[in-house]
Amino acid sequence: MILNYIKIAFRTLRKNKGYSFLNIFGLAIGITCASLIFLWVEDELSFDSEFEKQDQVYYVPTHQEYDGEWRTFNSTPGPFAEAMKTEIPGIVKASRTKHRDLLFSVNDNAINSGGRFVDEDFITIFSLKFVEGNAKEAFNNPEAIVITQETAEQLYGKNAKAIGKVLKVDNTENYLISGVIENLPKNVTFPINWIAPFERWSGDKEWTNGYGSFFADTFVELSPEADFNDVDAQVRGLLEKKTGDSDSKAFLHSIKDWHLRAHFENGKQVGGRIDSVRLFTIIALIILLIACINFMNLSTARSEKRANEVGVRKAMGSGRTRLIFQFISEALILAFIASLVSVLFLFVLLPQFNLLIEKDLVLGLSQPFHIVFLLGITLVCGIIAGLYPAFYLSSFKPVEVLKGLKVTHGSANYIRKGLVVGQFTISIVFIICTILVYQQLQHIKNRDLGFDKDQLISLNVNGTMIQKFDVIKQDLIQTGAVSSVGLNNSGILNGGNNGSNLTWTGGTNTEDVLIFFRYISSDFLETAGMELVEGRGFYENMAKDSTSVLITESFAKLMGQGSAIGKKIDRGDVYTVVGVVKDYLFDDMYGQSDPVMFFNYHGEASYMYLKTNPKIGTSDVLSKIEAVMKKHNPAFPFEYSFVDDAFNAKFKSEQLVGKLSQLFALLAILISCLGLFGLAAYTAEQRSKEIGVRKVLGASVSGIVKLLSKDFLKLVGLAIVIAIPVAWYVMDNWLGNYAYRIEINGWIFVIAGIVAIVIAMVTVSFQAIKAAIANPVDSLKTE
């Protein structure tokens, strides 16, 4: 019996090639799309999931209150880890950590490598597996360092033993390799290439031992029996007790949430990447649904062709259940073929998709889970797509259809129209969203930043760059490739160093305001293209500015009416404002400019900024800078980044949403058009006799095209009417996430509507014209 169904399904497919193509192709695109999204979702969900203690490992960030609002920070004070471990019974392990990039050199081979200074507990918290050495003895030596297999290979080559070797770090210190661990999984929130004892870093830094500085990333492990809520409450209380300050609360952040739910607002967890994951899962399901709708439409449109068969089979003794079963198995077979085609598509498209989303997803067809999932999608699609046609087709009465009566459409007709409207509604919503996401992105990117991010190169300060700053600057400018050089202790786009408890003239409740501190060299403002609104800039001689500060406009506003010049700020030491700088954006590109205070001191700078000459080609500029850096700072590899690249990287998730919504809008429209195309073909076929008669009676080709297109355009029109409020609602919500946002403009809806109509017209008119120019004799003869 089943064989019989399969046979007939294949013959039906072969006989109706166009129809089969539309169905399979549409469904294949849908499945491909959904598979791409699900692969991405799987990748997102896999973050940190390979660590063993999923229910016990937590990160300890802090909420801190400023000006009535809670902000969330990653760091905790140094002694807090040990305090939690000893004073809270549920916490069995704790480790302070500090991330650092170190320069490892072996002979001529030097690599910059990110890793962490950690306490010994770190090894067991993350169940790190040793390939060489062992966990117990790894940190016995204060000069120890444990590196990953990958790092070991980079340094010493494949299969070479690394343990016991002395590693030169930053060209100054020696570390003893005490172990080699397996590489961490690909997707981890806190990647490391090495770990070394925490004391090696904290050493004589007195300030790391008190509760005054928040600087460490702290990880803890709970005992398996511990109650999360109980321990979390104790952690919150403990930091308050230790600091004596109710404005700082540490809390537990589960390893399961590190990647997906790491966004906090006013002390509450409010999602994060999980929102994108959810959004795209929904989109994947919608696209699958559109593809299934296609299938339903085309199947029921063809009902007249199948009606006879249904009649005969019923007369031969087939019950309705068997027919339903037959039609569903046909749909399943189609879906199965479609999923095979989609696997082909996936092979071709996955590399492109990876480029687009900057990931390294693999199809992994050898993984049973992927196979089962794909089969699952296929099965669900087949059943959803086949169910309605099956019930509809099997409901025909044999007497009626065998007599050659036309199938009375009734409900099916309405449902079919409804489905077309549904498809187009979704497509139009996609179009509108795509335009708005794009606009919002452009809007933010074109925002006045308060500095000039173009032609700006950033170097990490290392080695002797600060000591030799003046010579380096001179040599750089002499090359002609660089017009200005400035130092800063913090990245220009980053939040960085900040604090509160300041007082100043003209302000009230000033203690609560969070102020950002920047230690810069005198020409940093010029280099970054920041504008001095009032007063003077810094002197080249920093000693002359030891009590002067520059502030931004938003800070000046906090100082009340009148010029801020000459006003005093008390931050333990008292400073005088000598100049006001135009507000500039950092950290949150969607938010407001926070108040900033600049000091003329570059002794602890972390970044060197170079403004380059736009008239010289990029590669030329870089090679000239490299030559200078090699000369003055030869021990370190020349590494640089462009500020505008870093700026663009800040919009990664928005850009991803933008790119993907473009892609999926396109595909949704394509699938919908395939459906419409098929539907138009069958309508034309159904009405061929009517068209023949009309032509004989003198109707013109254009009149008939109009007649055939009109019905479809009405449907698209209806779809536009439904789509506009839906799109408006969705996008207004989305834009609500951004303080700096565009207003939704009416003409976008007009454009989306016109696009939809034009696309539908093109699709339908092809069939309509074909039907209209056919010779009426052919269509009339068939009866």
Binding site: M1, N4, K7, R11, T12, M316, R322, G404
Partner: protein
């Protein structure tokens, strides 16, 4: 005394067409005995096809009694009724109604699938039937590759494969030329001799003459 296969007692069929009640079949009374070959005659619209469909249980009488092999069909549930006709009745259509996507062999086999006959048995039965109708060489062809007469031959083979007690043929030669018609009617006569009960609806006097009894219909009544 022959077995009574079909017994109609004041069987009536009315339909609502708009606000009018139209009587398609009006108080039909007759019995069909096993082994009979009945020809229903009458002009277009006289109710021949409706009567055949109702006897074949594809359609229902709306009034009166209908017993098939002693079982009261009019009071049966749809499921039992379908079981009954699957078991005992074969249909032959004017337009053949073969399934285009199936070969000759598969078309003939279809009713057996619905009766859940085992594969090996099916093979033997279909082979027998192909042999009997001399169409073994055509078993892998699709209906579209056959002439009308050949298609109807397949249609009859399909109707017979389930070994029904009753064959209902609605204008079986309506789409055929006279030579083909004659062959088909000869075949019916032959089958009837072998014991199959046949009811055919026809326009043609000469076709009707093959039957053992003629029932004339006009406007839904037996005349």
């Amino acid at each position: 005394m022959q077995n009574i296969l079909v017994s109609l007692n004041e069987a009536t069929r009315t339909v609502n067409s708009g606000s009018n009640k139209v009587t398609l079949l009006d108080n039909i009374n007759f019995n069909v005995e096993e082994g009979e070959f009945i020809s229903l005659m009458g002009p277009s619209g006289s109710g021949k096809s409706t009567l055949l469909n109702c006897i074949g249980m594809l359609d229902n009488f709306t009034g009166g009694g209908y017993t098939f092999l002693g079982e009261p069909v009019h009071s049966m549930k749809e499921k039992n009724r379908s079981k009954l006709y699957k078991e005992y009745i074969g249909f032959v259509f004017q337009a053949y109604h073969l399934i285009d996507e199936l070969t000759v062999y598969e078309n003939i086999e279809t009713p057996l699938l619905y009766k859940n006959v085992k594969s090996s048995e099916r093979k033997a039965m279909v082979a027998d039937m192909l042999d009997r109708f001399n169409i073994v060489g055509k078993k892998d062809l699709f209906p579209i590759q056959l002439s009308g007469g050949q298609q109807q031959l397949v249609g009859i083979a399909r109707a017979l494969i389930g070994q029904p007690k009753l064959i209902l043929a609605d204008e079986p030669t309506g789409n055929l030329n006279s030579k083909q018609s004659e062959e088909i009617m000869e075949l019916f006569a032959q089958l009837n001799k072998e014991g199959v009960t046949i009811i055919q609806a026809t326009h043609s006097e000469s076709n009707a003459a093959y039957g053992s009894r003629i029932i004339n219909l006009l406007d839904g009544k037996i005349v």
